[in-house]
């Protein structure tokens, strides 16, 4: 019984954590390159969910379902990329050499702007995200239930993370990204087109947000303009937890956070769910200030 409940919680935590991980990757990548918290990332995620919603009704006639899902996902990713690049070009690029706090305030401004604008455009009432794939239980015991959406969420997330890992560590572009994140000025002296690499970082981060939005819509089919706020905060916590700037860290952080939340609710108290997530984070940061998998960067005068 207790073991069954444990396994059930493990499944639920993994599925919830995978979405956090995908969103956290977007934060961590931008942070790794530009050293600033892209608060608007969670709203790109939110816009992705709405984009997916409209794409789904537009592509409703496409069969079979996996093809439809793939098309919607690619379309949403493209949409998120366009939004993110526009934001980057208009709001972030002019501030490249400004103090970091300014960029952060701008990001918060963009975030508020996108949220309130979507509320005007899409309305404040929550909307139903279409169930592109029907939820079918794969494993249906008395105490343990596993459905196809959960498997899909974890599977797609893992797949995307592997691709990302490959891009960052095994392509020329990835090497350039790592170089820019190491030292933007030296990278630019070495002939790396930094603006292009930064733009590409936004492309990757936002397309991950787009795909996360679809997975989110499938698991939690309720879409509203402020859905990004909480997810964004949690994903950011996950990124810091895992060691901000580290891709593996974001993935691990997201999943650990998902599990921590679920186990907190089950074994400790449901009303302290968010508090305990933050408390764990603070403890980890006290013990290991650079996060779980972050690397210590020696700063010289």
């Amino acid at each position: 019984m207790t073991l069954h409940a444990f396994i059930q919680n493990l499944i639920n935590g993994l599925a919830a954590g995978s979405v956090y991980a995908l969103v956290a990757l977007g934060y961590t990548m931008v942070y790794g390159v530009l050293q600033f918290i892209n608060f608007a990332h969670s709203d790109i995620f939110m816009l992705g969910a709405f984009g997916g919603l409209y794409l789904a009704s537009w592509l409703a006639g496409v069969h079979p379902q996996p093809l439809q899902l793939a098309l919607i996902m690619i379309g949403t990713m493209a949409f998120c990329v366009i939004v993110a690049l526009t934001v980057e070009r208009i709001a972030y690029r002019p501030l490249r050499n400004a103090p970091r706090l300014n960029v952060l305030i701008t990001a918060i401004g963009v975030s508020l702007f996108l949220e309130n604008l979507s509320q005007v455009v899409f309305g404040a009432d929550p909307q139903l995200f279409p169930s592109i794939i029907k939820t079918v239980p794969l494993l249906e015991g008395d105490d343990i239930i596993l459905n196809n959406i959960q498997v899909l969420v974890v599977g797609v997330s893992l797949f995307l993370m592997l691709i990302l890992h490959w891009i960052v560590h095994h392509t020329k572009l990835g090497t350039a990204m790592r170089a820019v994140s190491f030292d933007i000025q030296i990278a630019s002296l070495m002939g790396i087109p930094t603006d292009l690499v930064i733009a590409f970082t936004f492309v990757i981060g936002s397309s991950l947000a787009g795909s996360a939005a679809i997975l989110y819509g499938l698991s939690y089919p309720k879409i509203e303009p402020f859905l990004g706020v909480m997810i964004g905060l949690k994903a950011f916590v996950a990124a810091v937890f895992g060691g901000i700037g580290s891709i593996m860290g974001a993935a691990v952080g997201g999943i650990v956070l998902g599990l921590a939340e679920v186990f907190t609710v089950y074994y400790i108290s449901s009303s302290f769910r968010d508090a305990i997530a933050f408390a764990i984070l603070i403890v980890i940061l006290l013990v290991r200030p650079q996060g779980l998998l972050g690397s210590v960067r020696k700063v010289k005068v």
Binding site: Y31, Q35, F36, I37, A91, P94, L95, A98, P99, R100, L101, N102, L104, I105, T106, I108, G109, V110, S111, L112, F113, N116, L117, Q119, V120, L233, F236, V237, V240, I244, S271, F272, D274, A275, F278, A279, L281, I282, L285, L286, P289, Q290, G291, V299, K300, V301
Partner: protein, 319 residues
Amino acid sequence: MNKRFFLIAIPVVAALYGLDYFLNEYINEYVVRVIMNCGIACILSMSLNLVNGCAGQFSLGHAGFMAVGAYVAATLTTVFPAGPSFQSHLGVGMAILSGGIAAGLAGYLVGLPSLRLRGDYLAIVTLGFGEIIRIVILNIEAVGGPRGLPGIPRLSSFFWIYVWAAITGLVLFRIIRSSVGRALLSLREDEIAAESMGINTAKYKVQAFVISSFFAGIAGGLFAHYQGFVDPSSFSFNRSVEVVIMVVMGGMGSISGSVIGAIIVTVLPEFLRFLDKFRMVVFPLILIILMLLRPMGLLGHKEIWQLFRFKRSLKKAVA
């Protein structure tokens, strides 16, 4: 110093007292309310400026300290059995002071981890702290949980809010101009260089945190006793962000800039009311444009009178 201090303080207090009377007698209550909101916002932004602007430590949990101050002060005057004996101007003053001290203690607790963390890690710890405070309050039935704490005596007047704002301004100003302030500025510019110059960075960081959160707690206590009601939703992450916006808008490290930022962030949305549902679309847009056109904030590192003095000396030079 002492003589001069009283030479200034007495007329200022008298002027505030007179202004209080004038506002209550002749000015529309809504406008008075907005002015009082400005006062509280000023205390918040000036105090955050010490940590964010001067010391360059990035705190996103100011609302949490405010909540501690508000709830401690309100509990003393409302929930506490001996509460009614606090319900005079002196008693509320004591309660607000206790709220400030409690918030200062909380600031000490949060300041400690900041010894090991820098930049955005600290930001997330303070953010997490603010959220934890809010969630803890949500779960304390004695102070109403999510239902809030009603029936707080409404005794914070214009006079008290602005007296505290003046004290905050004065104290922070003196700190910035002192050796502590110089040490904090050096922290902002380059922490490692500061350390190698023999500055005890840990000590100064914690000091900045404690002072800043003390005043945030005072602001919270004033807020509770002028609102007459507190609930956890008043101290959400959004309020912390609002205060950061005030600081950055006014200029990092500029106390008068913080005052201007606080006034703009409080008053501008009131003027934008005619925009209806587009109000909250236009406000962030103005913020973005300001950041793009004037990234150093309205005043930059300078104080407002320094700007004028600079122009004056420029004129002289030209002449």
